[in-house]
Structures are given as structure tokens and as C-alpha cells.
């Protein structure tokens, strides 16, 4: 009984770490840059493929790949915002129009990224094994790589949180999220902040992908959508644009997912949606809202 309980707690922590990371990125993109990025999961997929390619072809340790890939993903996101979403923002006459248009644009982006991955890596599933030996903790058993993913995702989230809370740029980003007009009057370059946020969001999706691929999961060009949905649910759970809420929400969803898969495997996704629907109806502002 105790071991089972411990299994669930540890399992949910391990899953929650990844969910939290995806959700923090999604939250940055929607909460600050106002882009409901339907293609978020696709960058996770790209990250997973990047790790696979670097590991199997280059023999590079996935943890080293994290460091190598982070700037690349950041740059991709930054450039996408500058070339695409900035332009859309200028041509849309209201925020509602921009939200609709940018969601559609990100859907187009999803098509493009998925197809590119299909052309480069092909449809058959890929996977590799890294640090796959079991660790036993008070009777509960899990593989070592999942511990790595948990620790890494917590480190990334905490560092990012400190960056937002303590640094000048972080403060400017928060100001841009709260009140873009006032922030602009105070000399914050709004477009730059939004592009930074989009870049950080993409970077987190990519890093989450690298971490996910370590846990011997199937890597395919079509794996992204599931994670986009999870990110969306977590972000609503924690409140739109609330970074801390997304972080906590990730772990809550991890817990729910683990419990449900113990009872009825295959229904965890359905349980997520039901939580999502209930939450939207009862408390759309998120669990942390006053």
C-alpha cells in the first residue's frame, strides 16, 4: 500500500516536471505575447528529434544537448515573433482580432513544422535509451533518466522565475504583460519584450522535448498535439499568464494523470479534458485566483 502510494507520488512528480516546463512556456506566449500558440507542442517534437539525432548520430550526451539546443530554440522563437507575429499585431485593429489571427497563423506554423519533421526524419517512430537503469527509493522503482528530467525541469523553471523576478529585463517583461501602454511610456520596448517572451516559450518547449525524449518515449512527427493540449489545460488550471500558477498546475496535472492511469489506463487524457471543462466552467481564472 505504502509502496503504491509512493509510486503514485513519485510518478506524478516526474510527469509534473515536464508538464510544468511546457506550461510555463505556453503561458509566456499566451499571457504576455497574446499568441495562443497551437504549434507549441511541435517545438517540443523538434526538441525530441534534436536530442535523438545528436545522441544517435553524434553520440552527444542529451544533457549537453540541452545546453547546445537552448540558444537555437530561443532564436527560432525570437525570429518567428519578429517576422510573423509582430507584423500581424500591426495589421490587426484590436486585441481580439490579433488573438484570432495569431492562433490561425500558429496553426499554419504547426503544419509547416510537422511536415518539415516528416521530410527530415520520416514517419517511423524513433527512440533511444539513456540512463535507463532503475533506481529504487523506499521500494518504489523508477528509471534514472526520469529523475534527471525532473531535476532539470525544476532548475530551468526556477532559474527563469528568478530571471523574471530579479533582473531588469524580467521586470520589463512583467510590466509589458501587465499594462503594455504604461510600460511603453516608461521606456520599455514592448515589441522586443514580446519577442523575448516568445523566444523563451519556444526554448522551453524545445528543452521539454529534449527531456521527454530521454524517458524512452516514442518520438514521431505527430507527437506534438498531445502536449499542446496539456499545456493549454495546465495554463488554464494555473490562470492565464500566471507563471507560478502554470508551474504548480503542471504538478497537479501530473498527479491526476498518474492516479487515473493507475485506475484505468487510457483514460488519463479524458480525465484531463474533464478537469479542463469543469475548471473553465467553475473557475476560469485559475486555481490561484482570489
Amino acid at each position: 500500500m505504502f509502496v503504491k502510494f509512493l509510486d503514485i507520488v513519485i510518478g506524478s512528480l516526474l510527469m509534473g516536471g515536464i508538464y510544468a516546463l511546457i506550461a510555463v512556456g505556453f503561458s509566456l506566449q499566451y499571457g504576455v505575447a497574446r499568441v495562443l500558440n497551437v504549434a507549441h507542442g511541435e517545438f517540443l517534437m523538434l526538441g525530441a528529434f534534436a536530442a535523438w539525432s545528436l545522441f544517435t548520430l553524434g553520440g552527444i550526451n542529451p544533457i549537453l544537448s540541452l545546453v547546445l539546443c537552448a540558444p537555437v530554440f530561443f532564436l527560432i522563437g525570437f525570429l518567428i515573433h519578429i517576422t510573423l507575429f509582430k507584423r500581424l499585431k500591426r495589421s490587426s485593429e484590436s486585441l481580439a482580432v490579433f488573438e484570432g489571427n495569431s492562433m490561425l497563423a500558429s496553426f499554419g506554423l504547426m503544419f509547416i513544422v510537422q511536415n518539415l519533421a516528416l521530410i527530415i526524419w520520416g514517419a517511423p517512430v524513433k527512440g533511444y535509451s539513456y540512463l535507463a537503469y532503475p533506481i529504487s527509493f523506499l521500494g518504489a522503482v523508477f528509471s534514472a533518466n526520469r529523475m534527471v528530467t525532473l531535476v532539470t525541469s525544476i532548475i530551468i523553471s526556477v532559474v527563469f522565475y528568478l530571471f523574471l523576478a530579479r533582473t531588469r529585463t524580467g521586470k520589463a517583461i512583467r510590466a509589458a504583460a501587465q499594462d503594455p501602454v504604461a510600460a511603453a511610456h516608461m521606456g520599455v520596448s514592448i515589441n522586443k519584450m514580446l519577442a523575448l517572451c516568445f523566444g523563451f516559450g519556444t526554448m522551453m518547449a524545445g528543452l521539454a522535448g529534449l527531456l521527454v525524449s530521454m524517458t524512452s518515449i516514442m518520438v514521431t512527427p505527430f507527437m506534438g498535439m498531445e502536449y499542446t493540449l496539456i499545456a493549454m489545460i495546465v495554463v488554464v488550471l494555473g490562470g492565464l499568464g500566471n507563471i507560478k500558477g502554470s508551474f504548480i498546475g503542471g504538478f497537479i496535472l501530473g498527479l491526476v494523470g498518474t492516479i487515473v492511469s493507475y485506475i484505468q489506463p487510457g483514460l488519463s487524457m479524458v480525465a484531463f479534458y474533464l478537469i479542463f471543462l469543469l475548471l473553465l466552467l467553475v473557475k476560469p481564472a485559475g486555481i490561484l485566483a482570489k
Binding site: A105, G108, L109, F111, N115, I119, G266, Y273, P284
Partner: protein, 313 residues
């Protein structure tokens, strides 16, 4: 006077197109008939999407859910009832689902509603998959395929119905109520409109037609499983096509969806490996360079022409 002649010529043009469509199977190859069936499917989905989302501004991504409900109802019933009944039951099933979902969620504003409808598609699709694996022990079902001409005429009938429905909703008091809800929900409520009832009913009506198309299209596929029935692309396509065409009148969404559906058909057959890449690129171009669709481009051209005319001495 001028408006009236314009109206009559539009009507006459529409009748000509309708006659051409009705006689299509007599002069075109069966490949062409299937091609036009596909285009009409997108046109109907777009028109029914515009019935609700056009005037109110609520962006719904539930199209694939209602379409899929139609598909599954029809797949379950196929072979037991005659075609018109299957279509009507499929449409009614979507209508009922939309009514329930609408009354739960149409209190949500803006992006929350969009996310909810987005998740709805996945919820139903996942549940259908789980149900098939664990309860019925199958994945997907076989459907009795029908002759492509019968499918074509069924789609054509649904097309005419959705056109009539959009026309009458637009011209009725109901349409005015919708329009005012889109402009300001509070003001609409204060002027005595039962806002919730109007929204939910319209949402359900638009789902009715989506379900009907789904019920018909099942007969073309011969095999149905949750990922094909609840394809998320079908949720985004009507939205894209409506934006591309414009939503100001009935013709713009028809033109927009026809062009895009045509483009999709060509791309899938000519470039099966790069289809998604090209299509995604086309989507981006449309959204970036034509945010107001073809309608917007025409308006701009008209304005420019007028400007040049007035500059002349």
C-alpha cells in the same frame, strides 16, 4: 433601382450555378464529381460556421466534433435505415450535443470559449477511441460505401439547405439579435433579447448542418475511426476559409472556401509529401497579407479606383 437589378442578376447567377451543379454528374467524370463533393463539404462547413461565429464573434473550434458526431452516428446506423433518415439523425445528434455544450459554455468569453471547443474535439475523439478499445473491442468500423452520385446529390441538398438557413437567419429578427450580441452583449440583453437562448440555438443550428455533412461524408470513406472522424484540421479549415473569403455577405465565404478547398485538393494530389508544408505556407501568407480576406482586397481596390477617378479633372 440599381440595387434591385444587382439583386436580380445575383439571384439569376446563383440559379445558373445551381443548375450547373445539379447536372454535373451527366457531363463530368466521376472523379470530377468526387472533387466537387469535397469542395461542397468545405463550403457547407464554412457556411454553417459563419452562421454562428460570423455575427457573434465567438471563435468556435468545435466543427470537427460536430462533424465527427455526424460521421459516427451515420457509421453506426449505416445499413439499418434509409439515407435521408441517417442524415437527419446524424444532424440531430450534433444539434443536441451543441445545445448541451452551448448552454454550458457560451457564458465563457473570448479565448476561453475557443480553448473549450478545441478541447471538446479531443475529448470526444479520445473517449470514442477508449470506448472502442475497451467496450466494443474494435478499432474503427466498416461502413457500407454508397455510389458517388448519390453522395453528391445528398451533399448538394445539404448545401441548398444551409444556404437557405443562412439567408433567412440573416434577414430575420433573429439575425439582428445575433448581430447586436456580437456588438455588445450587455446592450443586447438590456434591449430585451434573451441572449443565452439566441446564442445557444444558433450554435446548435450551425452544428446541425455540420453533423449532416459528416453523416453524408461517412458513406464515402467505407472505414471510419476516431482520428479520421474527429480530424482537428476540420476545426481550423472553416475558420481559415471564412477569414480568407470574408464574412460580410453569403457569397464571400462560399468563394473563399471554394478556392481554398480547390487548392487543398490540388496540393494533396500533386504534392502528397509537401502538401502540409505548402498549405501551411499558404495559410500564413493569407493571414499576414490578407487579414480581411478577398472581400478586403476588393474593398481596397474599389477605394483606390474611386480615389483615382476623383483625382481626374
Amino acid at each position: 433601382m440599381k440595387d434591385k437589378t444587382k439583386k436580380y442578376s445575383l439571384f439569376a447567377g446563383f440559379i445558373v450555378i445551381l443548375l450547373l451543379l445539379i447536372s454535373l454528374p451527366s457531363y463530368a467524370s466521376s472523379y470530377r464529381v468526387i472533387f466537387v463533393t469535397n469542395i461542397l463539404m468545405y463550403v457547407i462547413l464554412t457556411l454553417s460556421w459563419v452562421i454562428f461565429s460570423g455575427p457573434t464573434g465567438y471563435i468556435s473550434l468545435a466543427t470537427a466534433a460536430f462533424f465527427g458526431i455526424g460521421v459516427y452516428t451515420s457509421a453506426v446506423l449505416s445499413g439499418t435505415l434509409s439515407l435521408p433518415f441517417v442524415i437527419i439523425i446524424g444532424a440531430l445528434a450534433s444539434f443536441c450535443l451543441a445545445f448541451v455544450v452551448g448552454s454550458l459554455t457560451l457564458r465563457l468569453r473570448g479565448m476561453y470559449f475557443t480553448m473549450f471547443t478545441f478541447a471538446l474535439v479531443q475529448l470526444i475523439s479520445n473517449f470514442a477511441h477508449w470506448y472502442e478499445v475497451n467496450v466494443t473491442g474494435t478499432v474503427g468500423r466498416l461502413v457500407l460505401a454508397l455510389d458517388s452520385t448519390i453522395i453528391y446529390y445528398s451533399i448538394l441538398v445539404v448545401f441548398c439547405l444551409v444556404l437557405l438557413a443562412s439567408h433567412f437567419i440573416k434577414r430575420s429578427k433573429f439575425g439582428l439579435a445575433l448581430q447586436s450580441i456580437g456588438e455588445s452583449e450587455e446592450a443586447a440583453a438590456h434591449s430585451g433579447i434573451n441572449v443565452t437562448l439566441v446564442k445557444v440555438t444558433t450554435f446548435a443550428i450551425s452544428a446541425f448542418f455540420m453533423g449532416a455533412v459528416g453523416a453524408v461524408m461517412t458513406m464515402r470513406w467505407s472505414y471510419v475511426d476516431p482520428p479520421t472522424a474527429f480530424d482537428i484540421r476540420l476545426s481550423f479549415m472553416p475558420l481559415l476559409m471564412a477569414i480568407f473569403g470574408g464574412m460580410g455577405n453569403l457569397f464571400s465565404p462560399i468563394i473563399g472556401s471554394s478556392i481554398f478547398a480547390y487548392l487543398e485538393e490540388i496540393l494533396t494530389t500533386k504534392f502528397p509529401y509537401y502538401y502540409m508544408l505548402l498549405f501551411g505556407g499558404a495559410m500564413l501568407l493569407v493571414i499576414v497579407f490578407m487579414p480581411h480576406g478577398i472581400e478586403g482586397v476588393f474593398r481596397k481596390l474599389q477605394k483606390n479606383n474611386k480615389g483615382q477617378l476623383s483625382e481626374k479633372p
